[in-house]
Symmetry: C2
Subunit: 145 residues, 2 copies
Amino acid sequence: MMRILSRAELKNELLRSGIRPSVQRLAIYEYVYRSTAHPTAEKVYEALRDELGSLSLTTVYNTLKLYADAGLVMMIHIDDNYLRFDGNTQMHAHFRCNECGEIYDLPVEGNSLGCLAGLEGIKVTEAQLYLRGVCKKCLQQNYIS
Amino acid sequence: MMRILSRAELKNELLRSGIRPSVQRLAIYEYVYRSTAHPTAEKVYEALRDELGSLSLTTVYNTLKLYADAGLVMMIHIDDNYLRFDGNTQMHAHFRCNECGEIYDLPVEGNSLGCLAGLEGIKVTEAQLYLRGVCKKCLQQNYIS
DNA sequence: TTTTATATTTGCAATGATTTCAGAAGTGAA
DNA sequence: TTCACTTCTGAAATCATTGCAAATATAAAA
């Protein structure tokens, strides 16, 4: 588990990736980095609009795309309707509850790609494991009702 | 590896799932079942339109959704731009080449979820493993040029 | 400090895959 | 044949995401 970074350290992360840390960029990075809710672009926009005084949804999309290309955030495609973003770039799986729509992180232990065959001669740069089903909370509620 | 089913057997598969095998439905099922290209709805539509004389893109979408809910086909979310479908419902991973866009199947051996923690009390109904990178063919071409 | 060049942000319009919807066509039972 | 019900169709609507050109901010040079 990596230590939680301060705002100044997040700024340095951007610089290290060759990205100039404008006010908007740092705010967007910090929000996604600290969130555990896998926010959509819209969510990031709503959360920061007031705080920043001025912000465009286009900027949010552009910036998150920039970060995804730089490997600073992960794009999560588990939702049928929109793209989500995750500031945690360490290997982990995602579980989406079909009842409540919530997305949970699942830790991955050991070699997650050990079960895969046919990787010879292929260059893998990214791996995502998505699970769906019903979460603990919804299972209990369904049982009661 | 499961035996390849005949058209009559595919029809029975539909009936067993409580789906009435109309001309359109059977054609769509058979096309996705026999394809290894992870076709989009548009692709299915183009491939069957002439053969069937009459077909609506809406029907293709509705039918594929019906099959996905019934567990007869898998929805593949690996492509940023559109939904793809896979008639192979056995556990396997998908690899998408970032250069050519091609999607390949990767066999999964053993317990693919063995590396996961935090599954207690959760009901998992679906697992998808997506990989991205550069495929063998594109790696060779990049080296030559 | 001003000028200048460049990078970033903004808001609106466009895009396009997917869905909605209401009517048409098909199907099977009586 | 009629009736009730299911399926299909095509056009219009939806809406997340992207394109674009103008506005603004920033940093370096003069």
